[in-house]
Symmetry: C2
Subunit: 482 residues, 2 copies
């Protein structure tokens, strides 16, 4: 969503009484430079200015920062410093494999910057994942000095009873004073109940989204959570009037983004069988479609849990979800482990960190042979050499790069996308929102009007310009509805 | 939905393990004869045949049966007998005012027919409605001989804590053996949690809808409820494979009915303020639109609670929701109680039964003057004379009426609609489902193709006419997909 579509809601969000406002992270950063021609650092500064009373929060992929590889510690430190300097307050730090060694450096960096470090446990289901295991990880995160913990359920797999059991057990093991946040998606239709149970078990904060941007693969609705607690003895600090304003604002904006919305509008409980997050399924579908094999999605869905087992049961979250999903596609298309992606080989060889389960020794050998490297057991970032100076000189050579640390970090995160963004940045932000009537026409396969305006008497479809080649001659033609 | 679109799912529904299948009632009966040219009694017989192992369930408006007025006891008895004879097992009987006297006759009729009588408590919120009051009503229903009780939350107002408190209190007062069903709509996004709390309090059965027809103003998704209970010690009797088949069937059918779907796709918590069910709001909106006053909906929403107070705080459910809603529209358009609808006058004068609260004496006097009748305190149906013979002779005179008791009852329920239905019945059922691509094009407001047909090879879009301006000259051009 374009920044300009969020600005009018900021004053109400700032006054609403949220514990924090999650407003920045990998996907928004990526969308800013890839699609919106918007500087993500400037976006953060605007949020900071418009929400002076709010804790701004981001999701940080620990040693991966906002990218898809491990960064050397110096880059991690610098990223955290710069995010803090530009206005970030709360860093929710997670590692896709729940490898505590990968969380260490970034959490320390957040502490050094004087900001709130929230250590994150990625929730997943496997024969090896237990309440006791999650409690162990919680203890380690507390020992690292985290200011709070987050139980992160990125795939909407957290059912009410485990939600209760895990939160209760962590509170018992780490102390009631340890702050626990619970983050659930709504996809499966059970997690509103999981939030209730987590609250009963002592969770201090739960994540929601304003109702007009909630549900489907998103989060549970804020207003419903407020109402749900009525009479239970639990309350939120939210101002209903403010959140109504926020709701109404985004209810008006949402239709402009119809073409970007998920197909999942109701609930999808198949996820409990496949344990594959919704976004991952659509990724795999588009990979298969590119190879003319869209009809093989069911085989891929069955293959994913097998690949996950081979890899030692990693949680499925960026980047492990993409790595496992792509390998599953490869296995179905080309035969089991006939070709390994470079990333999957790295995952097998420990270059993303440790997994809870052992990895399949045969596939591990294949990975080693293909990648021409040995498995490692150390913290992956220990293998990396300082890279800041190279990143700086590479970035600075790009047209439009302003030489700031922020620009170098943008390049470091997205080396493929940043060059084009630097070159076009001066053109200013693009808003990809569209008048809903236009979008509906497009999706129906009908001709798209060049522009549609509303003059108060209902939408007026503007004339459309076509180049028409007719008998070998090209001519410009203007078309309007009769 | 046309019967033919439900038939393929019946075998799986029958095997799925549901306690009962609600498949008949006022709205489906009405839709059958008004829109689908389908005999609702024949529909019931088909369900009976296709689901031999299932309890078929209906919602019965007690003395109102499936209509909007009180029927004389003889008609009530006959309706229940005929419904039982044609295959109905479970009669969920409610009165819009929770007046136990209105429930008496129909519950007795169900018992006499040897069927399951479920006495219903309509849940609402007002300064006068208390847990103790609901418990009192529960006791009275048990004393009437009900086989089970239903707590019916038609507006999605039942929050988790009251759900727990009411079910718990009823079980304590009436005994754990008294079977309690909980019926919630999903509109406000809190009631999945309310179902969990009701189950914890001892509810024996909760209502859901298959996920592909769930949420919005409908019910919570069946599959999510099954998953929600995992590990809690509570289970359902459902077969996941069967319900997956049911889900997939209706997921494929649903898009054909896109034009009939509610605009509420997410959640709507404003209902907690206005306490107005979603369907009632859309009714009032269309009434206002007919009078060119669509912009006055907010005034009407504020007026509804005032009218409800004047009328003694009836629950808002058919027919009281329509009566209160229409009077609120009249008050806004013409001034407070300048004109009373006949139905509102009757409500004030006790012709629908007793309300929990006292009625406003001034408005009551207006009602009495306008309707030229006195307020009553007796059971409304006690005022009615036997009417079966008249109904029979009136119905039998209609072209196409087959003279059966079923036809007489159809006429009795819907005297305005039945004559046309009897006349056209021989033409057979109409299916109003449409190819989704047709609906999308039409609703987008784009140039509408003259016709779209499906010849079995996918939809065929008919030519579109454009005015084309070309080299300054305007010409009419016909365009069709190449």
């Amino acid at each position: 969503m374009a920044m300009e579509d969020m600005i009018p809601a900021c004053a109400d969000i700032d006054k609403a009484g949220y514990w924090s406002v999650e407003c920045w992270g990998g996907a928004t950063f990526d969308a800013c430079i890839r699609f919106l021609n918007e500087d993500p650092w400037e976006r953060l500064r605007i949020f900071r200015k418009l929400m002076p009373n709010s804790r701004l929060q981001m999701l940080l992929r620990a040693q991966n920062l906002l990218g898809y590889r491990h960064y050397e510690d110096g880059v991690v430190d610098r990223f955290v410093d710069k995010a803090a300097e530009n206005g970030m307050d709360v860093f929710r730090v997670f590692d896709a494999l729940n490898d505590i060694r990968n969380l260490n450096r970034s959490i320390n960096a957040v502490k050094k910057a004087g900001k709130h470090a929230q250590g994150t446990i990625c929730y997943t289901i496997s024969p090896l994942h237990t309440v006791a295991g999650y409690v162990e990880m919680a203890k380690e995160l507390v020992d690292l000095g985290c200011d709070s913990l987050c139980l992160k359920d990125m795939a909407a797999l957290l059912k009410p009873q485990p939600a209760y059991d895990i939160v209760k057990a962590i509170k018992q093991a780490c102390g009631e004073h340890v702050r626990i946040h619970v983050h659930c998606h709504a996809t499966t239709g059970v997690t509103m109940v999981s939030l209730m149970k987590a609250i009963e078990a002592g969770a201090d904060c739960v994540d929601t989204a304003i109702s007009s941007l909630s549900l489907g693969p998103g989060h549970n609705p804020t207003e419903s959570l407020v109402e749900m607690l009525d009479g239970t003895g639990y309350t939120t600090a939210l101002d209903k009037r403010c959140i109504l304003n926020v709701k109404n604002h985004f209810a008006a904006i949402r239709p402009r983004y119809a073409e970007f919305l998920s197909n999942i509008t109701g609930v999808e409980t198949d996820i409990f069988e496949s344990q594959i997050p919704g976004g991952m399924i659509s990724n795999m579908e588009s990979q298969l479609k590119q190879q003319g094999a869209a009809n093989r999605i069911k085989e891929v869905l069955l293959e994913v849990p097998r690949v996950r087992q081979v890899a030692g049961y990693p949680p499925l979250v960026t980047p492990s979800s993409q790595i496992i999903g792509t390998q599953a596609v490869f296995n179905v298309m080309m035969g089991d482990y006939k070709v390994l992606t470079g990333e999957f080989a790295d995952l097998m060889l420990g270059y993303y960190g440790a997994t809870l389960g052992p990895r399949d020794p045969q596939v591990l050998e294949l990975a080693s042979n293909q990648a021409h490297k040995e498995a490692i057991n150390c913290r992956p970032a220990d293998m990396l050499k300082p890279e800041w100076d190279t990143l700086r000189s590479d970035a600075s050579a790009l047209p439009g790069c302003d030489g700031s640390d922020e620009d170098v970090l943008t390049f470091a995160m997205f080396p493929q996308v940043a060059p084009r963004f630097f070159a076009t940045r001066k053109d200013g932000p693009k808003n990809l929102g569209k008048d809903p009537s236009t979008v509906a026409i497009t999706s129906a396969g009908a001709p798209t009007p060049a522009s549609v305006r509303d003059d108060g008497k209902g939408p007026v479809v503007a004339p459309i310009n076509y180049n028409i080649t007719f008998n070998g001659k090209s001519t410009k033609v203007t078309v309007s509805p009769a």
